[in-house]
Structures are given as structure tokens and as C-alpha cells.
Symmetry: C2
DNA sequence: TCTTAAATATGATTTTTATCATAAAATATT
DNA sequence: AATATTTTATGATAAAAATCATATTTAAGA
């Protein structure tokens, strides 16, 4: 809907890390692909960006893999979306492509801008750890 | 954001019709392209679908063109989106691609489902005529 | 120090979406 | 009836997104 395929995959993969990894237990990309049903090479590429922006952590070589530090886990989900899709995807006008402006709103602005702002706010406020906790407690489910 | 390029174009073009056409004053596709800044051939193709689904009306030959009847104007905007993008685009799960389900929600469901439902509801309730009226009264603007 | 196992970097391919082009069908006007 | 003008139908091309593949770099362990 409002997320690209890539950012959906990224969120799923990172949440998988949040649930199953830590500094002492790293996970290889090939072991993530199957459980979340995303092509292995695809995740590998997405993870490169996320490592570069320090959303997730990695070490290479034998016994290496990807993982989340405590610091990583306290980041907001929205960072993933902004890195993969770019900020405009969430904030740009629904009709004119550029400049969503209260002063000169498009015909759909009043209909969806408030709800959209709410979504953005919620995404900003929610950390990876909080989302993972929901899953752990059975309030939500990590989809295939 | 949540609309494809095609449905953005479609909404803009149909609202242009709502503002400037009626049974007695039809508009040719070549005269719509420029003011709303959408390629002429692109609109032509989109309009074919919309005519087929009776969102807009048309007559061909000289003195022909596209226009909106009163009945057309009383349709909801969401119909355009559903025809061009398909219903799933608005309703599918943000993470798993299929089945947005309250009983087995994904980690993002709680964050965005209520706002999304609100948007869908608003889109359903708003007719083309109402949107056009907003523009006419200066409450909103039809973008390039 | 050598081998092996992992991420990283880079690029190729495929699929989808967006855009362009053109011939056929229909209607008003002469 | 002939002509001109418009939509309609269909397909071709271009651009972007998604997916796949492979060679390079890094680190652990023998
Ligand atoms: S101006 Fe179009 S969504 Fe805000
Ligand atoms: S289950 Fe994912 S958005 Fe509803």
C-alpha cells in the first residue's frame, strides 16, 4: 500500500533479527530468507544499505552474520522506511507528486492528510524492540 | 504514496472534467492533457477503462469528447482508485502482501490499520461533485 | 599461514509500470 | 455520400522496480 516491496522485506527481516539475534547470536542471511519468505539475494542487498546506515549490525567471516545491538533495537521503524524508500514516499502529495502543502492543498489532502500524519507519527514513535515485543507476547505475528 | 501514478492521473483528469464539462460541453482528451500536466496518450488509455466502468461518459466523432453526467458526478472517488489500481492496493496487509486480518495482525497493523480504515471511509464518502465544489470554492487546488 | 565461511560490492536479468504510437470505428457536418 | 474529427482498441517502446548471480573482501579456526 504505502510501502514498497523492498521496505516490506526490510521490515520483516529486521524484525526477524530483533526477535532472534543479539551480539552473541548472529544470523546468516541464508537462514533468514526461508522463515520470512524473501529471496536470499534480495535480503543481502537490502541489509547492505541498513548496515551502512547503522540500523543493523554485522560481522563477516566464519561465525559472522547479522544482528541487532541494544542501540539498534531502540531505533524507530520509520528509519527503515526512509532509508529504503526515501522520505518523500510517506510525505509527498497524493496527487501532484510534489509539495504537500496546507496552504495550497490538493482535493484529496483534507481526506487523507490527517490520517497519514497519524500513521507517520505512530511509525516514528515505535521502536523495533517494541514491535518485537508485541510479537513475542502474541499480540502480532511476523508474516511469511 | 498509496496511489499509483495511473490513479493519480485518473483522479486529476476526472476532477478536471467535473469542473469543466457537462452534457452540453464535452472536452477532448487533447485539451485536458496540458492543464493537468499528464501525457495525452496516457489519459486516453485511462479514460477508456473509466468509460467502460461508467465513471465518466463519452461520445465520439466531431463535437464529441468526455464529460460527466450528474449521475457520474455523484459517484465516490474511491471507485476510480479501485478500477485503476484494484481494491487490494488499499486494503491489503502492509507486510505480508495478503490478508490483512484483525485476528492475526502483522506487527504494523495496530500502527496503521485504524488510520488507513479512516482514509478508505473518507474516500468512500466523498463524491466527485463534492471534491469539485471544494476546488470551485477555493478550499483546494487541482495540481499540475 | 592456509582454508573456509561469511558479508560486501557490483552488475546482469527479469518483470512490472509508465509512456508512446497508430490503425480502426463512430458521428457530426457539408 | 464524403470528409473530418473524435474516441476506441491494440500493441510497441522506455523506464523503473524487483530479482538473480558472481567475484571480492574480511575474519575465524586449524
Ligand atoms: S497537498 Fe495533496 S496530499 Fe497534501
Ligand atoms: S495485518 Fe498487516 S496491515 Fe493488517
Amino acid at each position: 500500500m504505502m510501502l514498497s516491496n523492498s521496505s516490506k522485506y526490510a521490515v520483516k527481516a529486521v524484525l526477524y533479527l530483533a526477535l532472534h539475534s543479539n551480539e552473541d547470536h548472529k544470523i546468516m542471511v541464508k537462514d533468514i530468507a526461508k522463515p520470512i519468505n524473501v529471496p536470499q539475494a534480495y535480503i543481502a542487498k537490502l541489509f547492505q544499505q541498513l548496515v551502512k546506515e547503522s540500523i543493523i549490525s554485522s560481522t563477516r567471516g566464519p561465525k559472522g552474520g547479522f544482528y541487532l545491538t541494544t542501540e539498534n533495537k531502540n531505533q524507530s521503524v520509520i528509519k527503515i522506511l526512509n532509508i529504503i524508500d526515501g522520505e518523500k514516499r510517506l510525505t509527498s502529495c497524493m496527487l501532484s507528486l510534489e509539495k504537500c502543502d496546507e496552504d495550497k492543498p490538493c482535493p484529496l489532502h483534507a481526506i487523507l492528510s490527517p490520517s497519514r500524519n497519524k500513521i507517520i507519527e505512530n511509525l516514528k514513535d515505535k521502536t523495533l524492540e517494541e514491535l518485537a515485543l508485541d510479537v513475542k507476547q502474541g499480540y502480532s505475528y511476523l508474516p511469511l
